[in-house]
Symmetry: C2
């Protein structure tokens, strides 16, 4: 049996840590939803094992609820990230930063 | 020489249309920045040809400027999407929707 101690770990520690947070899982969920929305199946097939998200992230429905996005005619035609960005633009110029 | 007319097109028309918009390019740029931030190189290697974004999207610096994000200690430790989501949460509950 080979020794494995010195092999490069396959786990992406910074991503693993990120995915252990609620916001991190929402971000990764939005990325996956974007890939699914545009049927980028080859990218998804690589992303899931590389990011260790094979066990699944939140569905679009859950992500929208988390983000307070109410799905309507203007949102269903694009990935959720589009709606997120639109809100960002609305917010731009406010003094909360 | 073979006829190619009846072959399935390799171009993703809905994504192509999406990337022709400013917001669409920002969204795709944020996805790529997320993948780069976590060194998901295999995913990137598939995403770029599959999405026809080999010619490049905006850099993190340009994306941040577009979104009105001022990079600081609290933002540089994560992908830009994390900061975008944090703002979304701040905005949640406002009556603009």
């Amino acid at each position: 049996q080979e020794k494995v101690e010195n092999k490069t770990p396959l786990v992406n520690e910074s991503l693993k840590k990120f995915l252990s947070t609620k916001d991190g899982r929402v971000v990764a969920g939005l990325v996956v939803e974007f890939l699914q929305f545009f049927n980028l199946d080859f990218t998804l097939a690589v992303f899931e094992p590389e990011s260790s998200t094979l066990n699944g992230l939140d569905s679009r429905e859950n992500l929208a609820r988390d983000l307070g996005i109410i799905e309507a005619e203007g949102t269903v035609g694009g990935p959720l990230l589009l709606e997120v960005i639109r809100r960002c633009h609305q917010k731009k110029g406010s003094s909360s930063a």
